[in-house]
Every structure is written in C-alpha cells, then in structure tokens.
C-alpha cells in the first residue's frame, strides 16, 4: 500500500515536471505576441490599478468611449496586430480584474511600469506555473472521483496535449478561472467524503473567486449547486458565500466609477452573439487556440466521446463530470460573444477527465476495443503532423496492417473473454497505444516553434 502511494507521488512529480518543461519551452514566442492583445490588456488593467488606482485596458464594447492609442509592446504593431491604434478605455470594466491583478502585479514586481514595457517574456511566466499547478489540481480532483491510476492517466494527457500546453501559456482569464474552479470542486468532493462545514465554505469562497476572474466563472457556482444537490443547509451557505464573493466585482466597479460601470454593464448585455448557431458543432469538430488559429488535436474529441460513455454510467463521479461539462456548455452558449479559442479552456479539464476515464477503462476494466479506437484518434493526428512532409512508407504500412492486426486481436479477446492470453495481449496493446499517444504528443510539441506556428492554421 505504502509502496503504491510512493509510486503514485513519483509518477505525479514526473508528470508535473514534464508539464512545466513543455509549457516553458518557447513560452514567450508561441502563440505569437499580439495574437491575442487580451494578454497585454489584462496586464495593463492590473498595472494601471496598481499605479493609477483605475483599470485601463483595451475595450471592444459598443457605446463605450475609447481613446485610440498606439502602444507597441513586443513590436506587435510590426507583426501580428494590423490596423493600428488600440481602443484604450478607462475605467475598464469589461471583465472582472483578478487575472489582470495577478499578471499586472507580476509585471510590476519585474520592473515593468508603462504599457509599452510589458513583455510576454515576463507576463507569461506566472501563467506557465499556473498551468502546471492546474495539472496537479486536476490529478487531485480526478483521484477523488476515479482513483489514482485513472487520475495519473488524465493528468499525463492534460500535461502533454499540444492544445492544452499551448493554450495554457496565454495570459487569459480562463487560465486563472480553471484552477480556482478545480479547487472549489476538490473541496466540494471532500465534503461528500467527510462532513466538514468549513470545506463547503472554502469551496463556496473559491467558487465565488472564479467569477472575479471572468463572469463565465459563474459556472463554478452553478456546478457547485448541482453537486451539493438537495442538502438545504449546505446549499444556502454555499450560495450566500459564493455570491457574496462574486458580488465584490460589482462593489469594485461601483466604488471606482459608478456611471461607467453601469454603462459597461448595459453594453455587455447587448454584446454581439458571435459564436453562431452552429457553436456546438464547431465546439465538437474544431480545436481553436486564438481567434484565428486552429491547432488540430484529437484529445478533446476523445473527451466528448468519453462524455457519452460517462453519461451511460450511473455513478456519482460520472455525474459530477457531466454537471461540470453541461454547466459550462450552457454558460458558453449563453454568453457566446465571440469564437475565441480561450473561451473553450474551461471545458478542457473535464473533457480530459472523460477522455482519461474512457481510456483507463481499457487498461483496468477490460473495455479494450473502445479505448484502442479512442487512442487511435489523437495518435493518428499527432503522427500525421509529425510526418507532414516526410510520409514514411514503412509507418503507413505499420499503421494499416497494425490496426488490422489490433482489431483482430481485440475482437478475438471480446468474443473469447475467458482466454487470459488474449486479455493480456489486448491490455498490453492499449497500454502501448497510450504510451505512443503521449510520446507523440511530446514529439509534436517539440516541432511547434515559431517557424512551425506560422504554418498552423
């Protein structure tokens, strides 16, 4: 038992180290500076709150006064930001300020004082660390829901998925919202296991805190309500505390500039519905990173398939995953202002839990066939990207006949379940595919440098 715990801890530490190294590599150059000016704007909000006592940032809201200004950090106006002046607005209340405070404070402590000084080389560093912490929190939550082996698979996939790695380098509020939401869910799950009123209160505090990162963080409160269920007393405490913490955004806005805060609030309610009526189809079939860049990654699709698999299960943990995914889907569709890749980030931990669970069923519970087919999706995507130019004939041969052989093996195991040899071979095949998929994740990430990024579309 003790040996098992130590092995799990060791595997988790290795996963976290891999997660950090992959996120850190090329962190300041991929995605390119300026591909999302929100990264700068978030930091400017924090920096201006510290230095001016008033948030200043880029606003795209209709009817809000803005001051066109040329600001050229990392020389973005010469590369990725065509069209010139940025629509600077103050006081800026488009979103809650928590991510801005975090990145602005880091920029300030690093000696950056003016907007032009802000460099991605500085401000992405804490986000990379936050991304690594998210992997650890995801392991914790998944271990509580599905046990340590499944949690290890989930965290390894989340640590190495190219889409997640690159997305978690960006100074976007969603990258702050996710770990806080996970923390709230961990505390809520712990209260299910042992009755502790303080745990519910802390869970409520963190659920409220997610709203201070972005209004879509309300999902943490909604999912919390469904997870608590019909325990009236806990529900009242959870709602009162979380909503009161979330309400701090309103107090902050009213305290700084009541009139402007109300104007922004009204403008926000009439935002353009930019994600379109085909938003769900688009969500299932495409993997976006920024507003224009797509990075094909098979793992989210496996996650959606895993969600269907989980929906058929009747246990509590599967229900929790469904609650989180469905709650965020509702928020995503409700808000739906634009089809930016980072709006999808809060889906990812739960899609990866679903994907990891789906796959681990093949390793631990003899559902080899579905796991193998699921693994072939990201593995195939990674291999096609790795051998984009040099299509190795031998690899194609292995792929064609390997999959044929694999299917025969797995189907034989399925119709002859009592045969131990077929069972062991099938399990080994799934483990081998999993290792290959993770390895190709890492190899694909090695390929994604600035030059390659220009070719990604």
């Amino acid at each position: 038992m003790k040996k098992g715990i130590w092995l799990t801890i060791l595997a988790l530490v290795v996963t976290l180290v891999i997660a950090f190294l992959l996120r850190y590599q090329n962190f300041a150059s991929v995605p390119l500076p300026g591909q999302s000016t929100d990264e700068y704007s978030n930091t400017w909000v924090g920096l201006s709150l510290i230095r001016l006592g008033m948030p200043v940032g880029i606003s795209g809201l209709v009817g809000i006064k803005n001051y066109p200004t040329y600001i050229n950090p990392d020389r973005i106006l010469s590369s990725t930001v065509p069209g010139g002046a940025l629509a600077i607005s103050y006081p800026w209340f488009d979103h809650p300020p928590m991510m801005g405070i975090a990145s602005g404070a880091f920029a300030y402590l690093s000696g950056e004082r003016n907007f032009g000084d802000v460099a991605l080389l500085t401000i992405r560093k804490p986000v990379v660390v936050l991304g690594t912490v998210t992997v650890g929190l995801l392991f914790w939550l998944a271990a509580l829901w599905f046990g340590p082996v499944t949690a290890l698979i989930i965290s390894l996939l989340y640590a190495t998925s190219p889409l997640i790695v690159i997305g978690s380098r960006m100074v976007q509020a969603e990258n702050g919202l996710v770990p806080v939401w996970l923390l709230s869910l961990i505390l809520l799950t712990l209260t299910q296991k042992k009755d502790g009123p303080n745990l519910i209160r802390w869970a409520a505090f963190f659920a409220g805190l997610t709203v201070l990162f972005k209004l879509s963080g309300i999902v943490a409160i909604i999912s919390g309500v469904f997870i608590i269920g019909r325990k009236r007393r806990s529900l009242i405490e959870f709602l009162m505390i979380s909503l009161s913490v979330a309400f701090l955004f309103v107090i902050y806005g009213l305290a700084i500039d009541t009139r402007e805060f109300m104007a922004v609030f009204l403008s926000n309610t009439s935002r353009v519905y930019g994600i379109g009526l085909d938003a769900i189809y688009d969500l299932f079939t495409s993997t976006k990173i920024t507003s224009t860049k797509y990075l094909t990654d098979g793992w989210p699709l496996v996650g959606w398939l895993g969600m269907i698999y989980l929906a058929a299960k009747k246990d509590k943990s599967s229900l929790f995953v469904l609650i989180c995914l469905a709650s965020y889907l509702a928020i995503y569709i409700l808000f739906g202002s634009a089809s930016y890749g980072w709006y999808r980030i809060p889906f990812m931990p739960f899609l990866f839990i679903a994907a990891g669970y789906f796959i681990s069923e093949g390793v631990t519970n003899s559902n080899y066939l579905v796991s193998a087919i699921a693994l072939l999706i990201p593995l195939g995507v990674n291999l096609s990207r790795l051998f984009e130019i040099n299509k190795v004939p031998l690899l194609i041969l292995i792929m064609r006949f390997g999959i044929l052989g694999l299917m025969i093996l797995l189907l034989t195991g399925l119709v002859w379940p009592e045969n131990r040899i077929f069972r062991n071979f099938s399990r080994s095949a799934v483990i081998l595919l999993l290792v290959a998929a993770v390895l190709t994740n890492i190899l694909y990430l090695q390929k994604i440098n600035v030059d390659y990024w220009y070719k990604v579309n």
């Binding site: 230095r51 200043v56 040329y70 600001i71 050229n72 010469s78």
Partner: protein, 138 residues
C-alpha cells in the same frame, strides 16, 4: 445560520474597507499626466534605431476617413505608413512624425526630414488634417 450571521458582519466590514481603500488609492495616485505617461512612454527594453524605415506598421486602420498617410524616403528604401488620425495627439506634421517615431522607437530628429503634403512643401509646425498624405525624405 449562526455562521452566516458572523460571516456577513465580517463581509460588510471588509466591503466598507475595500471601498474606502479603492477610493483612497485612486484619489492618492491618479493623475492624467501619469496616465498619459503609462500609455505613450517608450519601452525601456525596446531596441531603438536611427532608421525610420527599419520598422513598419502592418495593415491599415479600419477608420473610414480618419487616417493619415505618411511615407518616408530613406535614400536606399522607402517606407509607407497609414496612421489612425484620431491617435495623433498633436495634429501637426511634426506631431505625426513624432508619433510614428515613438511607436517604432526611432531616435532620429524629425527636423532632419523634409516633407511635402498634397504637393506643397511643409514645416513641422504646419497642421495636418484627416486623409492628408505626407511624403518625407531624410
């Protein structure tokens, strides 16, 4: 419910202090001068150049009728810029050139440029209007 009572007493005290702090901090540190400095101060880490044609500004502002065309002849090469007219603080030839130099980190003295606008020669103090085309050479 005893906990919630205590919680909200603490919460309202916190909110009161929070509001006081936000207002006090803004009143103490905010100034238009500092805001302008933060917005337009050139980065300390940015590479600077004497060559006004070295860096470009990509694309065109999507502001119909609110632009200023500026081209600079740097002997061996030529650079063309379209600036958002609303973002030029000082609406003069010198103001437009200074704004361009600030954006691109150009240290050249604008007085070293000779400019013509709409076919006539102009000085740095001459006013510019939206949709004007300014052609300068070193």
């Amino acid at each position: 419910m005893g906990f919630l009572k205590k919680y909200f007493v603490g919460y309202f005290i916190f909110v009161a202090l929070f509001v006081v702090f936000l207002r006090w901090h803004k009143a103490r540190v905010y100034s238009d001068v500092l805001l302008t400095q933060m917005l337009i101060f050139p980065s300390q880490s940015k590479d600077v150049t004497e060559d006004p044609c070295f860096y470009n500004i990509v694309g065109e502002p999507s502001t119909p009728g609110q632009y200023l065309k500026l081209s600079i002849d740097c002997r061996d090469k030529r650079a063309n810029f379209t600036l958002d007219f609303r973002a030029i603080r000082e609406k003069t030839v010198g103001g437009a050139i200074k704004e361009l130099f600030r954006i691109n980190g150009v240290t050249l003295d604008p007085a070293k440029l000779k400019c013509i606008m709409e076919g006539r020669s102009v000085t740095l103090a001459d006013e510019v209007a939206a949709k004007n085309s300014l052609e300068c050479r070193i």
